[in-house]
Symmetry: C2
Subunit: 206 residues, 2 copies
Amino acid sequence: MARPKGDASVTEARKSLILTAAFEVFSSRGFRGGSLSQVSELVEISEAGILHHFKNKGSLLISVLEYRDRLSREVTHITADMSGLDFVSSWFELIEFNISHPGIIELYCIVSAESTNPEHPANQFFRDRYVEVIEVANAAFVKLEAQGYLRSNLDPFDVARALIALSDGLQVQWLLNRDWDMLNEHKNFFRATLNEAGIAAANLSN
Amino acid sequence: MARPKGDASVTEARKSLILTAAFEVFSSRGFRGGSLSQVSELVEISEAGILHHFKNKGSLLISVLEYRDRLSREVTHITADMSGLDFVSSWFELIEFNISHPGIIELYCIVSAESTNPEHPANQFFRDRYVEVIEVANAAFVKLEAQGYLRSNLDPFDVARALIALSDGLQVQWLLNRDWDMLNEHKNFFRATLNEAGIAAANLSN
DNA sequence: GTCTATAGAGGGATAGAC
DNA sequence: GTCTATCCCTCTATAGAC
């Protein structure tokens, strides 16, 4: 037991600082456009210092993505076993949270698009992520359907996929021009996919 | 008149080859991830040769984007003054065309996301582009509304923006995993935003 | 754990010959 | 119009001192 507990937590704090800086860099310039030297400037450590804590640039990116997911999970509480209506209101909370933290939107927007190339280090991460997040949304729409809230000509899984897609696409537009209400566009999605009973239950009447 | 017509068209053909190669490179790796040397390999010309025809890497990207827009316009014929129902069927044709030409999807997916950074050479291009394309879609939904085909609780402009967003978002998912029917997801959008009369008129009943 | 030094590759762009 | 040669920069990653 040569190493007291203090050392480990100091290291963790250092890693956390690096992750925060890397988050900023990858958010604004993407993985390919961002560099370790930009990260090292922000965190006031050498590039070699960064690579002492993270094997290489790619694993730093993955760590940033996992780090962000961890932080988001502390805020949103969206799960597959929550009720359909709770999902809807939690979804709006998530959008509002993201609007007030644009860096998160930038990160996922740029890196997910880059990652469509199979050689990109985050390719597998995003393949897994979309399966997971669509499944969570699907669970909600299945329940909304069972409650008689979903339009009868729509399939829950298709609607779930569409919600995620709409959200991603709106974020690109929003990053280019923020002169409009992104939250309201999400509400319109539910106004179009829920029936009258569902719209009333979700409090989305005009 | 020292220069006969033949020279000019040879130059144009050369530029066209470069644009085709640059399209491939920027499609798969984005602007920041792609390089002039990759383009030069494909087109079998030196990097200096490329920069004789295009001022720099950024202007090559813009030229590629304009080049692709020109080619797409030859195929799709979507305009602001076509009828609402014609827009719907043309939109499906456009999606089918893109599905069979994945490079187009890759290009816009990656480069539009990169371009959300204000320093990116295509930033203004995509700001203008979204205004234009949403306006064309809006013109169609305004007409569909006038015909009594749009759901009464939806605003045409919001629906137009949502269609573009949905389309962009679906493309990211599709590039990561093509095991599903992207055309059908677009049809579902109209099943959710048109009323029964509209769905029947657009031939979207199940 | 952090640094300096450096390897080694690759990037964009320009000058000038042909 | 195309090339070679070159400049200068930036990048990731490693080695080894402290």
